[in-house]
């Protein structure tokens, strides 16, 4: 293993990982760290979305609903009953997974654009419901006012940290875990079935794939992942409200990152976030305060340019480039495979 690290195809990823791992020591600026946290968080969410929308090709535009379920579950458990968000996080994930499964049951009968529209609808239903409901029995949703999470100082057991670096490491761990999960799914039988469904559902069915079971499982996993992200969001901001965590725009944002990067690939969502997170920050920083709207105008134009000029997400072009770099560095593994490479 260590010997192999001489090969660029091994040491390059290792190097990236090392940089990510040591980043808080390299960059001593909380704002930059904040941008990196947002990068990891967005990549995490888009990867979660990718499990159902990318691998199985079922475009969801309502995924903020699951983020919201996670955020609300762990927050309510914490604020009302003092249960640590680390535990609440798992609860939230399970509830979201059940929810994803239940919703999927009827909705997966729909194909293509109809499915996408249904996801928008359930996302909106959940937002409107929470926004206008003060309490359900003993559970206080607090309506549009949102829920404030009291800051208890630095208490890792309660998912609260004084430093950005700590949040950064939590985000990094979640990010790596979701990548591992994606990689496992992608290269398993399930991943194979899902991509068959994504390509042609009828054909997959005729080959004996239990498509509805596959989709439901993927949907539940995806919802679970999103919900954990929701808990992170809540603990990071210490405030959640329906217009923030459940908004349709948030759902679209997640999907945009996934599609721009490259749906159905493991690293596509990461690339999507790597491009869009800094882009959104930069346009806002340099253009946002001066003329209202310029930053989003620029962002929109770049988005359109990328869609128009780069087919099937940035990942395709990127992996070509990456292989070329590996070849230039004289990597024997890639040369042997003549650029075919593994499934990224």
């Amino acid at each position: 293993m260590l010997r192999r690290l001489r090969y660029p195809s091994y040491f390059l990823p290792f190097l990236f990982l090392l940089i990510l791992g040591l980043l808080p020591f390299i960059i001593n600026n909380e704002y930059i760290l904040q941008v990196f946290i947002m990068f990891l968080f967005n990549a995490y969410l888009a990867s979660g979305w990718n499990i159902i929308s990318g691998f199985a090709g079922q475009l969801s535009l309502g995924h903020a609903a699951f983020v919201g379920i996670g955020a609300y579950t762990s927050t309510i458990l914490f604020v009302q009953w003092g249960i640590s968000p680390w535990i609440g996080m798992i609860f939230g994930g399970v509830i979201a997974a059940i929810f994803g499964w239940l919703i999927g049951y009827p909705v997966f009968k729909l194909r293509g654009p109809y499915y996408a529209l249904a996801t928008i609808a359930y996302g909106e239903i959940i937002r409107i419901f929470i926004q206008n409901t003060k309490a359900v029995g003993p559970i206080e949703l607090k309506g549009a006012e949102g829920i404030l999470i009291p800051f208890k100082g630095s208490s890792p057991a309660l998912f609260q940290f004084e430093t950005k670096a700590a949040y950064y490491y939590v985000a990094l761990a979640m990010f790596l875990l979701v990548l591992l999960l994606s990689y496992k799914i992608k290269n398993s039988k399930m991943g194979y079935y899902l991509s068959a469904i994504g390509n042609d559902q009828d054909a997959a069915e005729s080959l004996g794939v239990n498509t509805s079971k596959m989709k439901l499982t993927a949907s539940a996993i995806s919802a679970f992942v999103m919900a954990l992200g929701g808990t992170f969001y809540a603990q990071f901001l210490l405030y959640i409200n329906p217009q923030g965590v459940l908004s349709g725009d948030f759902s679209t944002e997640i999907a945009v990152i996934g599609i721009i990067g490259g749906e159905g690939t493991v690293f596509g969502p990461v690339l999507g976030s790597l491009i869009l997170t800094p882009l959104s920050e930069l346009t806002r920083i340099y253009l946002g305060g001066r003329f209202a709207g310029v930053h989003l105008l620029a962002y929109g134009l770049i988005l359109m340019a990328v869609v128009t000029h780069i087919p099937h997400g940035v990942i395709g072009t990127f992996s070509k480039l990456y292989h070329r770099i590996l070849l230039k560095l004289g990597d024997p593994v890639v040369s042997a495979k003549t650029g075919a490479g593994k499934t990224l």
Binding site: I128, N132, Y239, N241, R284, I285, G288, G289, I310
Partner: protein
């Protein structure tokens, strides 16, 4: 193409890192105040999105005050240092607002923060400034909790949300006592986001306490394309008094619809937001006549400087100032006053000065308050509200009775629609 994108991203990241390592234009944390040429003030506002019109109004107030302060020689105790506003767009999203507050503080090194209009953004963004020990002057956001968390760096000029609900009802009750036309049946009409819902919470307490009955509780989504259904519901309920919490487009749709349906109530009372938006009067014209608005400010306030300031504002932007603009304007003077007394651009010194604020006169005192003074929690204890009535397209102060416009006589109950010209 990919190369280009890669390059852009790379440059982007480098720029971010680069900016982070510089100290920025202001050496507010440098300690020596002698060399301070300018003081950066971070202004977080919703400059895009649905609430952008009100964000823009706040921005105007801040800009006008800053220009005046700088033209008058800046901060004298800092050798005439100029105030520089550093605007950031929250998009009205708490997540973005928090991130932008972080950036203003960490990257731009602002000495003071101000903003963020929506309570849902102010709430988490004041938490950021508390963490970094940067004073944050809140001109407008009304959510009660903002100053009820024991924060030391948050200072709020505006009254709390519960005070609005209380004063709307108090005014109606006093008008009833004075004129004999006592309102009994009350309709609550409010947009269903955090602002409207916290008003409703207050009304549900203050209306019964005043011996009135709530006959309609009608929340609605402020983005509605058509509010006729809500208006018909009001008509059905036949209230004496209608209390509103509305943003701009919904305030316009409601006012016009009520005129169309000829709903006669003794009084219709808004509470700033859409009803105070200068565009509101422009768009509804005569239909706004005899309507009331509980607000922070009015151009006819009998205080020195009000007329002149409003004239300047109107000349610059073409519309009258309103509550949000006036509070944002005054907040800049509060900051300037603190800087002057602190004699330093260090956030810690500014905080100390802010806590000791006691402004009773001067160019910034165009608000109806007798004085600006913050209590332990950072709330301006003298914050109060006034009631204005629209007549002939003018907003005239009618309440509290001792602050009313002497040239104007309040009309209560409002004449029936059929009796109007």
């Amino acid at each position: 193409m990919l190369k280009k994108i890669g390059a852009v991203t790379l440059i982007g990241l480098l720029t971010l890192t680069g900016c982070g390592s510089q100290t920025g234009g202001t050496n507010n944390q440098g300690g020596s105040s002698a060399g301070v040429k300018e003081v950066k003030i971070g202004a977080l506002l919703p400059l895009s999105g649905a609430v952008a019109p009100i964000g823009e109004t706040c921005k105007r107030g801040q800009e006008l005050a800053t220009e005046e302060i700088n033209a008058a020689g800046g901060i004298k105790s800092l050798g005439g240092a100029k105030l520089v506003l550093d605007f950031a767009d929250s998009k009205g999203d708490p997540k973005v607002g928090m991130s932008e507050a972080e950036r203003l503080i960490m990257k731009d090194k602002v000495a003071v923060m101000t903003g963020a209009y929506q309570s849902s953004v102010t709430y988490p963004s004041t938490q950021v400034s508390e963490k970094y020990k940067i004073p944050y002057v809140v001109p407008v956001s009304v959510m009660d909790d903002i100053t009820e968390r024991g924060f030391k760096y948050t200072f709020r000029l505006a009254p709390k949300a519960s005070w609005y609900s209380r004063d709307q009802v108090k005014f109606a009750k006093e008008m009833g006592e004075q004129t004999g036309s006592v309102p009994k049946r009350v309709a609550l009409v409010y947009e269903n986001s955090d602002w409207g819902q916290s008003s409703a919470k207050g009304w549900n307490k203050s209306v019964p306490e005043a011996g009135m009955e709530i006959v309609l509780d009608a929340p609605y989504p402020s983005s509605s394309s058509d509010l006729t259904p809500v208006i018909l519901k009001i008509k059905q309920a036949n209230p004496d008094l209608i209390l509103f919490t509305s943003y701009t487009s919904d305030a316009i749709l409601l006012t016009n619809g009520i005129a169309e349906q000829k709903i006669n109530a003794m009084g219709m009372i808004g509470q700033g937001g859409g009803h105070a938006d200068p565009e509101y009067l422009k768009n509804v014209g005569k239909n706004a006549e005899y309507g009331f608005d509980l607000t922070e400010w009015s151009p006819d306030l009998g205080k020195p400087g009000v007329k002149e300031t409003n004239a300047k504002f109107k000349q610059k932007y073409g519309v009258d100032m309103n509550g949000e603009a006036a509070e944002s304007y005054a907040a800049m003077y509060v900051i300037a006053d603190a800087l002057e007394r602190a004699g330093s651009a260090e956030p810690e010194k500014i905080r100390e000065a802010l806590a000791k604020t006691k402004i009773t006169s001067g160019p910034g005192m165009i608000l109806p308050y007798d004085s600006i003074e913050f209590d332990q929690s950072g709330q301006n204890i003298h914050a109060s509200l006034i009631m204005v009535q629209v007549n002939n397209g003018q907003r005239s102060t009618v309440w509290p009775f001792n602050a009313k416009n002497p040239d104007y006589k309040v009309v209560w109950p409002a004449p029936k629609w059929t009796d109007r010209k």
